[in-house]
């Protein structure tokens, strides 16, 4: 022991000693700070939504490839366009006589169910109302020869404040003889991405109360009946978050203006388009709706096999596209659409996903998935790059511990594979729950590898200059290929697909081949697996959340490195300047600064104590 240590400690000596927490305390504090930041950013603050429009562009591209076509095949919109008024020699509002024609024409094509998105509330001659009522009844009975009834639903007005002579949503009683009123109100947009929620009924809770169902839910119930995709579960009346499918409709392409983004003629126009999209990937939205659409003029014309295919035995949504009516819906995918498409898309979601439709409110299980992802991300951040000794010990860096941890790792991988196999064989109703253990065990195994990998540079076979030049060449080549492919894909399949299919994989390859950042590579793969698991029911987290976690991981990793760099600089300064006078008026704050900066340090301690004479050294 140094003799000087026996001397009474003076103020100067106390100042000279750098307060330093041990590694366990540091890892605890760093873990808590990261967890708090993660909870705040990812769960409460909604970082995933803040990443819009980029994350939304990625989501759009994914949805365009994975969204099932079940709903599209069963849904049609019959649109009364403003231009049709002239063609039909009619004026606004549409005369009931024209509606009678449309409903009769619909009846001739024999649909399965019809939702009429017109508010029949304004006073009209009694004869007109009567005739419309009869047309609705004819539509309902149009398939009697097949022993079937066509379900007809009418849009109801918002509930009146006081007593109303028309209690059923303001609809005349004559029109309700053969039809059912349904709620057709639109929910407000949620978040910057324009995600739209869709209620199952007018007043929650929907089940067990005489609440009016919403159009899409009523249509789905009428169409699906009691088959396996019926909504009968306790959570099947919860509000939906609409997934906007964005594929093509060959029928719509036949008669609509469907210019895809970046179809501009000429290089300058294409580059201008690209710059606009780079600034805001959602700037150029789709022009053509996803739902098969015919106009009333198509319907009223001579028999058309295309119309028959679109409307016959399908769920038909009959609505209007009038500027004056103002019934428009803005979505993350399309330029604003006539309001009837909202109901059609909600129905499409129900037909495609059945009871697994995406809920607006997260399932309790999704909180579990969120916590697991957050814990994984925080652990990874703690053990990445410069793992602290306790983390390495925990995951088995010692000889005996490593042996035990090795068994645990093998067991984890085996359990992950077993969980995966079980899911494939059993095909459970909630595959996400079955796949979660696979993900967790996979993550554990990965964290183990990260924590116990040998630190320092690996043995290189080539000299540094050769390696440097090779990487430069590779980097340049990858950038050139990615750029060329990106421009090509954008031209053919749109900006979102360019982003998903070229830019992201290109960045991945760059990190793997040029940066050799295998930590990022494996984390990305795991996060991709997480995206698949979390997308499945009951989690329904959606890829946007996963983008949030990857962004958090990358940003936090960068900040941790920066914090470590600053902390090391501070500690070096502290070691060099140990007199209070050297710190001037800030000398009083130095003990507090010690406690802040030393908590930010990464890596194992080389010394356990600092008595004021030795320099603090951090590996």
């Amino acid at each position: 022991m140094d003799a000087s240590s026996a001397l009474p400690v003076s103020r100067a000596r106390r100042f000279a000693r750098i307060w330093r927490p041990n590694a366990t305390m540091r890892i605890l504090v760093q873990g808590l700070l990261l967890s708090a930041a993660g909870v705040w950013l990812l769960i409460y603050h909604g970082l995933p939504l803040q990443l819009t429009p980029w994350s939304q562009a990625i989501v759009n591209a994914i949805v365009s490839h994975v969204y099932p076509l079940t709903g599209q095949a069963d849904t049609a919109v019959v649109l009364f366009r403003e231009e049709n008024l002239t063609q039909l020699d009619a004026s606004f509002p549409v005369p009931y006589e024209r509606h009678v024609d449309v409903l009769d024409a619909l009846a001739a094509y024999r649909p399965a169910a019809v939702f009429i998105d017109f508010a029949f509330m304004d006073p009209r001659p009694a004869d007109d109302v009567k005739r419309l009522g009869h047309a609705i009844c004819r539509l309902r009975d149009s398939r009697q020869d097949e022993q079937r009834t066509v379900a007809v639903f009418l849009a109801a007005a918002p509930p009146a404040e006081g007593p109303s002579p028309r209690p059923a949503g303001g609809i005349p009683r004559e029109l309700l003889a053969c039809a059912t009123p349904v709620d057709a109100q639109m929910d407000a947009e949620r978040g910057v991405s324009g995600v739209i929620t869709y209620a199952a009924c007018r007043q929650e809770p929907c089940q067990g109360t005489p609440s009016m169902p919403s159009a899409a839910f009523a249509m789905h119930h009428a169409r699906v009946g009691s088959v396996d995709r019926a909504l009968t579960g306790p959570r099947d009346a919860e509000p939906m978050e609409i997934i906007w499918a964005n594929g093509l409709s060959p029928l719509n392409e036949k008669w609509m203006q469907c210019r895809p983004p970046l179809a501009a003629v000429g290089l300058v126009a294409a580059v201008e388009d690209l710059m606009t999209l780079w600034d805001n990937p959602l700037a150029t939205k789709r022009k053509c709706p996803y739902t098969h659409t015919v106009s009333v003029v198509h319907l009223l014309g001579p028999f058309d096999p295309d119309v028959k295919q679109a409307v016959g035995d399908k769920a038909v949504f009959y609505g209007a596209s009038f500027v004056m009516a103002g019934d428009r819906v803005a979505s993350p995918v399309y330029d604003d659409l006539p309001g009837v498409y909202l109901h059609a898309m909600a129905y499409d979601n129900l037909r495609s996903y059945g009871p697994d439709y995406k809920r607006a409110e997260q399932h309790p299980a999704s909180w579990v998935a969120n916590v697991i992802l957050l814990v994984f991300t925080v652990f990874l951040l703690l053990v990445a790059d410069e793992p602290l000794l306790p983390a390495r010990r925990l995951f088995g860096s010692g000889v005996i511990a490593a042996e035990r941890a090795g068994y645990v790792k093998v067991a984890a991988i085996a359990l992950a594979i077993a969980s995966l196999a079980l899911t494939v064989i059993a095909r459970p109703k909630n595959p996400g729950v079955y796949l979660l253990p696979a993900l967790v065990f996979g993550m554990l195994a990965f964290i183990h590898v990260v924590a116990t990998r040998p630190l320092g540079p690996r043995g290189e076979t080539t000299s540094a200059p050769v390696r440097f030049l090779t990487r430069c060449l590779l980097g340049g080549l990858i950038v050139a290929v990615v750029l060329a492919s990106f421009l090509g894909v954008v031209k053919v399949a749109g900006f979102e697909n360019g982003l998903l299919l070229v830019l992201l994989p290109g960045y991945f390859v760059y990190k793997a081949v040029v940066s050799r950042d295998w930590l990022f590579v494996v984390t990305s793969v795991l996060m991709l697996c997480s995206a698949v698991v979390c997308y499945l029911p009951p989690f329904n987290l959606g890829p946007r959340n996963i983008v949030g976690y990857v962004a958090f991981f990358e940003a936090a990793r960068y900040l941790i490195k920066e914090a470590n760099r600053v902390a090391e600089k501070y500690v070096a300064l502290r070691a060099a300047y140990r007199e209070p006078a050297q710190w001037g008026e800030w000398a009083r704050l130095v003990p507090i600064a010690d406690r802040i900066f030393t908590f930010l340090l990464r890596g194992d301690d080389k010394e356990d104590t600092d008595e004021g004479t030795a320099h603090l050294a951090v590996a």
Binding site: E83, R138, Q257, L300, D335
Partner: protein
């Protein structure tokens, strides 16, 4: 001396197109069935003179008809020396009746429509 050639191609193509258009316009076909329980015929194409024909009444008949040159939504037919119009969707025909040109080609369904004069701001769209 160079021989002077007379190019007849434009005239020939033009005549062929006109002939085709004329054939389409005057396409004749037979109404072979009613697609709804009853169908309304409009005497002299006047909406206030409807005549209703039921499926039972039509059974076994075949009506010669042609397209209405003024509207794609009606067919014209003559019965007992009286002209009638019938809604095109309500009957089935023995051949596909082609629409000369979809009046809605290149329709724009999504996107904010241009504002009408009543709601357009002063100077809006002037590009200044």
């Amino acid at each position: 001396m160079r021989e002077r050639r007379i190019w007849l191609w434009p005239e020939i193509v033009g005549s062929a197109l006109l002939a085709l258009a004329g054939t389409a316009w005057g396409q004749e076909f037979n109404i072979t069935g009613l697609r709804t329980d009853s169908v309304t015929l409009y005497r002299d194409c006047k909406m206030e003179q409807p005549v209703t024909v039921t499926k039972q009444q039509f059974e076994g008949q075949k009506w010669a008809a042609r397209k209405d040159p003024n509207s794609a939504l009606y067919f014209l037919l003559v019965r007992d020396n009286v002209n009638y119009c019938v809604k095109a969707f309500s009957v089935s025909t023995d051949q596909t009746v082609k629409v000369d040109k979809d009046s809605q080609c290149n329709a724009r369904v999504a996107g904010a429509p241009p504002k009408s004069g009543a709601v357009r701001g002063v100077g809006e769209g002037c590009g200044k």
